[in-house]
């Protein structure tokens, strides 16, 4: 640990020694030894870890201070503040110690600071969205990065030939290409930090973010290839070397992904067996993911890809296998580590900029680079989007393209890579360092600051300016809800052959292998359970219906969809003896943003009151906010009301059994009461109400299955009397519909 911390400190050990006086030692030669010392100052022993802890503490305190002011954080993204803080701190250290310390060391960065962030992103990446847009992501990541690298490098070289770059910058075409390759990569840390604040639609977010993650492979390859070309000397490069370069791109990326998947498999498999040793589950997750990173790094493959794939691949099985508490522990720890790492990175970036011995300024190079990266990125995005739109279901429109080109932020990765350059081989290193610093600062600060207003302005520009009437407002919401609902019915992304095949494969083989047997079995049985539940309990549950649903103890369950039941940790199946609802389900954590408008009085009231439709606006992978918010509250309310209504409709039709001609209904096990009812035929000529007992029963059971366990399994025992009363009550409704008096049936229907 000490050894590991050394790179973080770099030189400062010596510096610390210089500034912190060795007066800690109480003894100096002339004095007699003081006997048993009551108090000794052992600075050198704790120095390294203490400094590390101190840095992290400073970073956390900084975050606290920033968030004290709401206004500031709404305008300025945190990353900017942190960089500026770093600048200030660096200035202080420089002034005090007369030498720059605490740099962003590439070793520390790549080994300790980057992995938590990438792991966090990979683990919480919405995988369905990711794979739906994989084509676009890969295009931008591979083609886009290559395009950026080559054009920027070539343009800079052209600039030099044109004489705008001072000749003291000794760099040839290869050097510029190398520089182009490291400066052109969009940085995941910076992108995530800024996009969290800007609420863009989730497709856009996943494309930009996915691109920033996947372009690591391309960057690594380009960097290494160009580096080795430079070292070999441009004269010695042969044709086979170019081919090898291209081949290495595939090797690095696919190899990295493969390593990640192997570790994901291992992780899922190990967690299958941790039933008795729950306490090590979070540890396993982190260890194996980190091991994936290190293994890929060791083999010179793309480590970021490895960790991303590991997180993406293992999530489903791990979540099914580990306990609820472990899941929470993993989530919080990951977010904490990632957040902490991000803070430190930005701060160190700020600090490192201050050390002027490391860089040399050339205006032509700097300005040229800034202009070119913006220009070529925009151009590249436009061209690629045009091509992609021919194939995409949902095309990317102009605003998306603007956000994408403007949101291509560079960050610490570029900086770390430029520091790694060898000055002997690349004499222009200092100039490159200065340029990189400026570019990173510019993109993070300027682009980060302005992207939010830009997006707002663009959106406002699109929408019309008219004061909406009450009607329009209400109906607009209605339409949005309708659209959202129909989209859900249709299934947004249509039917994908390969996804279906994958899911079948997964269900048959992978899940059986990797998921704990109990979790796997339960997944299938949930759906059968509807028909096995004792109807008696269903009815008694209905009578409790109102009470249950209004209890505030309800948490929003995760909706079991056939393919994502891994989210549910079922503590108890609906048993055949039917003590009712006992599924313990997990709260979804999502952070969404809503629309906001201002109007007077009724508008205000209406706006404030209307439920927000599900726009595609979502800050997923949010690092800073894990808590519940308005959207979840809304979901809860709507859900409760919907369920209440469904139960009501069930109630009002339940008694119809007595009045309907008994149609032969398929027999199912355990439905004793229902059969009894169906047989009593106090009929009239009216055809059965078509809501269908079966259907509504299942509705109830849907509800039941989504209740939390502690909500009254004990209360499902009900008095038999209630059944009669219940029917009698319902009778009046029935009478209105002109049916035969229910009293007749009342006695017959008594349970």
């Amino acid at each position: 640990m000490l050894r590991a911390a050394l790179p973080l400190l770099g030189l400062p050990l010596a510096g610390a020694g210089a500034t912190e006086e060795p007066t800690q030692e109480p003894g100096s030669p002339g004095e007699p030894p003081p006997g048993l010392a009551l108090f000794r100052w052992q600075w050198h022993e704790v120095e390294a870890p203490y400094l590390v802890a101190l840095w992290i503490l400073v970073a956390s305190l900084a975050k606290i201070v920033f968030h004290l002011s709401r206004k500031v954080t709404s305008l300025v993204p945190e990353s900017c503040l942190l960089i500026l803080l770093g600048l200030v701190l660096g200035g202080i250290v420089l002034a005090v110690a007369k030498k720059a310390e605490y740099q962003l060391e590439p070793g520390t960065f790549f080994l300790f600071l980057l992995p938590p962030i990438v792991l966090d992103s990979g683990y919480f990446m919405p995988s369905r969205l990711f794979f739906d847009n994989l084509g676009a992501i890969l295009t931008y990541a591979v083609v886009g990065t290559l395009w950026n690298a080559f054009t920027t490098g070539a343009a800079l070289w052209g600039l030099q030939q044109a004489g705008l770059v001072a000749p003291r910058v000794q760099a040839g075409l290869l050097d510029f290409l190398l520089f182009g390759s490291l400066i052109s990569a969009v940085d995941p840390v910076a992108v995530l930090a800024v996009f969290e604040e800007v609420h863009v639609n989730e497709t856009l977010f996943i494309i930009v973010f996915g691109e920033s993650l996947l372009n690591d492979a391309v960057t690594v390859v380009l960097y290494k290839v160009c580096n080795s070309f430079v070292e070999m000397g441009s004269a010695n490069v042969q044709a086979t070397d170019y081919l090898k370069g291209v081949a290495s791109l595939f090797v690095v990326s696919l190899g990295g992904a493969a390593v990640g998947l192997v570790f994901a498999f291992l992780l899922a498999l190990t967690t299958r067996f941790t039933k008795r040793v729950r306490i090590i589950e979070p540890l396993l997750v982190f260890l194996l993911a980190y091991a994936a990173y290190l293994t890929a790094e060791m083999a010179s493959l793309s480590a970021i890809l490895a960790v991303t794939m590991c997180g993406l691949g293992c999530k489903k099985y791990v979540e099914a296998n580990i306990s609820h508490k472990s899941r929470t522990a993993v989530k919080y720890t990951m977010k904490t580590l990632a957040s902490c790492a991000e803070t430190i990175i930005f701060m160190l970036l700020g600090i490192s900029a201050v050390d002027s011995s490391k860089w040399a300024w050339d205006s032509g190079l700097v300005l040229g680079t800034l202009f070119f990266i913006l220009f070529f990125r925009a151009l590249g995005v436009v061209l690629q989007t045009w091509v992609l739109n021919q194939f995409r279901l949902v095309p990317l429109d102009k605003i998306d393209q603007v956000v994408m080109s403007y949101g291509g932020l560079r960050g610490a990765v570029a900086f770390a890579l430029v520091i790694l350059l060898d000055r002997t081989k690349i004499p222009a290193k200092d100039y490159f360092v200065a340029t990189t610093i400026v570019v990173v600062f510019f993109t993070v600060i300027v682009q980060g600051l302005t992207i939010k207003p830009l997006v707002k302005w663009l959106k406002v520009k699109r929408s019309e300016h008219h004061k909406p009437t009450l009607n329009q407002e209400l109906h607009e919401h209605t339409f949005d809800h309708i659209l959202a609902a129909v989209e859900d019915v249709v299934g947004h992304h249509g039917y994908h052959y390969w996804r279906d095949r994958w899911e079948q494969f997964d269900k048959k083989y992978l899940s059986q292998l990797l998921m704990r047997r109990s979790a796997y079995r339960i997944r299938d049985q949930i759906w059968d359970v509807y028909y096995r539940l004792n109807i008696r309990d269903a009815i008694s549950f209905v009578d409790q219906g109102g009470h249950v649903l209004s209890s505030t103890g309800l948490t929003l369950p995760s909706m079991p969809s056939r393919n994502s039941v891994a989210e549910t940790s079922v503590t108890n199946l609906l048993r055949e003896s039917g003590s009712g609802a006992c599924l313990d389900l997990q709260v979804i954590d999502t952070v969404r943003s809503g629309r906001d408008r201002e109007d007077a009085v009724m508008h205000h009231l209406l706006c404030g009151g209307l439920y927000k439709p599900r726009y595609r606006y979502k800050a997923s992978c949010s690092r800073h906010f894990i808590s519940e918010d308005a959207q979840e509250r809304q979901d809860k309310e709507v859900f409760q009301q919907n369920m209440k209504r469904r139960l009501e409709s069930f109630k009002s039709t339940k008694h119809n059994i007595c009045f309907t001609k008994s149609k032969p209904r398929p027999r199912k096990a355990g439905r004793k009461k229902k059969d009894g009812m169906a047989n009593t035929e106090a009929t009239n000529g009216k055809p059965p109400r078509d809501l269908g007992f079966q259907d509504t029963a299942a509705v109830i059971l849907t509800v039941e299955s989504e209740e939390e366990e502690d909500s009254d399994s004990s209360e499902t025992e009900k008095e038999d009397d209630e059944g009669i009363i219940f029917v009698a009550r319902a009778t009046s409704e029935v009478l209105q519909e002109g049916k035969v008096s229910g009293l007749n049936c009342g006695t017959d229907c008594a349970p």
């Binding site: 329009q472 607009e476 609902a485 859900d488 039917y495 404030g608 009151g609 919907n642 809501l691």
Partner: protein, 196 residues
């Protein structure tokens, strides 16, 4: 996927559906697969429960009403043509469609008027062709959070009906409804792009 064309043959009455709804072959196929996926126990039709399984509908305030709109006239079973007929309303409006259309033929299902009619039916539960104040109040109750009180809701309902009601009968007819929304870009708001 070259096997697509053979799948199309499996859809019953595919040609008449295509003519009626205007969907392309690919979209129809996509919808058919979705229909089959929703019908998980392979009954050949959908019931309300199948649609209720879609989790996201349970947190949509209008979810149940939309489900009901798939089952017109209280029927229990939804077959594929019926499924597609409802979804046809949400097809994006093609300008070429309108130009080439024979004016004597009935309006295509996804015309602006038909889209509005679909929305109107969601409000007008008793199908009398008017949205009464009571029905407006019911919709408001669905769509507004619990922090708004009943009295406030009633006054909002009153105002809303008043605003749209031109002939003073205390209810909003379909034409009045359409008129109050003439500025809204219905074609865009009620279209799902992937259904071409």
């Amino acid at each position: 996927m070259g096997s697509r064309s053979s799948h199309a043959a499996r859809i019953p009455d595919v040609d008449s559906i295509r003519r009626e709804t205007g969907f392309s072959q690919a979209s129809l196929l996509r919808l058919y697969h979705r229909f089959r996926a929703l019908d998980w126990n392979e009954k050949g039709y959908l019931s309300r429960v199948d649609l209720q399984q879609i989790g996201a509908l349970a947190v949509n305030p209008l979810g149940d009403r939309i489900i009901d709109s798939f089952f017109p006239d209280g029927s229990l079973h939804l077959d594929f043509p019926g499924f597609v007929r409802v979804l046809a309303r949400f097809r994006p409006v093609d300008d070429e469609d309108n130009r080439n259309r024979d004016p004597k033929e009935p309006e295509p299902l996804n015309s602006r008027m038909n889209k509005l009619r679909f929305a109107f039916q969601l409000y007008d539960l008793d199908r009398d062709g008017k949205i009464s104040r009571q029905e407006m109040l019911q919709v408001l109750r669905l769509m507004v959070g619990v922090q708004v009180t009943e009295e406030q809701l009633e006054s909002i309902a009153d105002r809303t009906v008043q605003e749209a009601d031109e002939d003073g009968d205390g209810a909003v007819s379909f034409l009045e409804f359409a008129k109050s929304l003439e500025k809204m870009n219905i074609e865009q708001k009620m279209s799902i792009r992937i259904l071409k």
